[in-house]
Amino acid sequence: MDINEVPQDSLHYKGRDQLKKLMYAVDQKGHYTGISSVGWEAENEATKQAWDAVEEELQQTKAFVLNGTLSPIAYFMRLKLMDVGLLASYVGKWKWQVKRHLKPKVFKRINSKTLKRYADLFGISVSDLINFGKT
């Protein structure tokens, strides 16, 4: 790729355009140089699509929490871009335990110490966690 062909397509989305990345391209003499680029359309679309998928799943999960199919933990887990395995290792539980905590019935019986652990990890208070979706 020639340096004058290096795309500069900026994407104003989640701060993507705040960061320029180093590209390697050849100058008129066929010599490689580093040149910074704010982005490329193809890459931007892939980035945005990945986030759209995250957002879509988050809204789905939210709906499940509101209709009582899933516990609030499921929502905050998605919000923090985690899956059950990752969340389990952060709160120091087994995967099957976290999976159970996603059930509203089990969630109601979780002890305060464990609830605190979840809340701290999500950066919210315990009451925020318990009362999510109850307004």
Binding site: M23, Y32, G34, L86
Partner: protein, 311 residues
Amino acid sequence: MHEGIHLSEPLAFGIGAGIFFAHLPFIKVSGVPGTTFRTWPGAIFKRVAQRLKISVHTEKFRSPEKAMLALDKVLQTGKPVGMLSSVYFLPYLPEAFRFHFNAHNLIIYGKEGNQYLVSDPVLENQTNIAPEDLAKARFAKGMPEPRGFMYYITNTPPKIDFQKAIQEGIKQTCFFMLSPPLPWFGNRAIGFLAEKIKSYPSKLPPRKASLYLGNIIRMQEEIGTGGAGFRYLYAAFLQEAGEKLHRDDLIVMSHELTAIGDDWRNFAYHAARQMKARQSDLVSFDELSALLKHCGIKEKDFFQRLQKVKW
């Protein structure tokens, strides 16, 4: 690099045999099969150190407290320290990049007041980070777990044999690209992925097919430093190596790889259009598959000839 050795990013990448390809359909990262254009994290630095005969101290820690204390100690001696981190916890990166990705290398080169001074390869300028954030990034959970992993140079040889280091790097690269007998690794995996793409419209719902394509583009361009899934970076290495060792054949090979990189970019461009269209259009998936296969065939020929370069 520090400690009196001047080493550019392309040279380090080439000597460390960083370029690679793998497609692992059975390893799903958030539901999407894994694709990579580079070798596994940590390998490049390790190989560069070995090939240049640089002594490096590496360490992992049980607790963040111990890890931060050890970091401060080394910084007091004036040495920069490299470490593994999770991009999710790096506040200086835009949110768009902050997924749970744990294999990000960064360098801390000092401490000013209560802030660490950071040199991050994805940033143009240096920046800083608060100790709490750095501790979180160094002790992220998931795969792979950094566990505070850090490294710094303890000793450098008076004279470095670049000829030998470059030669070893190139040889290893060719070996990794050409020899794996399994379909998921090296050059073979490019053709393998091309076949998979052909079957996407008949095997996957449009949304999934589109996500799968998006992931390939992201691995190639978002993660791939320099563009075209590290192909331009490796071409820059071949050029620098050719100039350093007065080898015109390497410079010619560099131009060839640049052209192959352009083909990869072309593939990504068309993949992005297909991804956006979200249609299970058989013809265009066949075309995409053909574009990718073309990259694979050209690269195979390229690395076969690179392997036969006389030293």
